[in-house]
Assembly symmetry: C2
Homo-oligomer: 203 residues x 2
């Protein structure tokens, strides 16, 4: 059975959990306790030299990076959906949004959430500025379309959905971005959708 090195509060892990659920795939979750720095131990860094979750182990085939895991799962189990690998133009557009997720969404939306939620040191206002810029680009793109690429959901939507849906945890009002909000709802209406676990109550 597939094993997912996983952390409940990680949005990057949730991208994978969400696609697994949409594809109705079974897997075993291997919790990595990030509060105790389990992702930086020598054993874990041997699995992922970047010291990050998620990592997928599919019978010994090991893939790191949330975008790459989405591509792998869609290519292997997607049955022609989720990744338009035989249409160069659509595949190029999916790749645009995977880069956007790895860079702009990560350094904007994910970073501002992490700075607030985990009390990390860093430039919160800078991260929020990047987040608002990224959300504005997404919002404009979604003004006249239902999904990021083509007329059906792809891994591009899943890769960008999770941190776009968590921006309130970084102190950003998601309702400033109405097309993004509508698109979040569209993802949440997909058959097999699962949300993230609720945050633990503050102590």
């Amino acid at each position: 059975m597939m094993k997912l090195y996983d952390s409940p509060l990680s949005g990057n892990c949730h991208k994978v959990r969400l696609l697994m659920s949409l594809l109705d795939l079974e897997y075993e979750s291997v919790p990595i306790n990030m509060a105790e720095m389990a992702h930086k131990t020598p054993d874990y860094v041997a699995i992922n030299p970047l010291g990050q979750v998620p990592v997928l182990d599919d019978d010994g085939e090991v893939i790191r990076d949330s975008q790459a895991i989405l591509v792998y799962l869609a290519a292997k189990f997607g049955d022609g959906r989720w990744l338009p690998k035989d249409d160069p133009y659509a595949l190029g557009h999916v790749s645009e949004w995977l880069s956007f997720s790895a860079n702009e969404m990560s350094h904007g939306c994910a970073a501002s959430r992490a700075l607030v939620l985990f009390n990390r040191d860093g430039d919160l206002e800078g991260a929020r500025t990047l987040a608002r810029k990224a959300l504005g680009i997404l919002d404009d793109h979604l003004a006249a379309r239902e999904w990021l690429v083509g007329d059906a959901p792809t891994v591009a939507d899943i890769a960008n959905y999770v941190y776009a849906g968590l921006v309130h945890q970084g102190g950003i009002n998601p309702h400033e971005f109405t097309n993004v909000s509508t698109w979040l709802g569209r993802v949440e209406a997909l058959e097999g959708y699962i949300g993230m676990a609720a945050l633990p109550a503050p102590k």
Copy 2:
């Protein structure tokens, strides 16, 4: 004919020029004068809302983001080489390194070069630390292999090659990373390889 919105000193543009040359493709280069902020004009931002080069226009089909353009070109013109789109595991690994290029290489190697070369404001030592970490991960990965994925060059190599090959311009000694240096030479020995234009002489 394909049009590439292009800038001679941009490593991201050079990724595309390099793959175009390796694939023996013809295109028209449309220079965007970044010193004069031509990439931030309303006309250009209408083409690429991120206000970045490169952008590829293939008979009206417009793709932004250097990684995405590499994927598009390989899928359309690669004739089964450069992008293993029918092997989920290899495609997942290529995607790992495309994310690495969009995030770690960009914020480390590309950023430290830009801070030095274009006198930009920013955290040069922070960028150099990220660059050395990224180069170390590449170096370890290349210890027992010739190419980043599988046994032939792919877009993963091209996406990471350019900024890895320019780290001296950001004040990093590339010879600290011997496997990376050997791999750079391997890319440079490919038939059709072209280097970047020389830097203009300092004034």
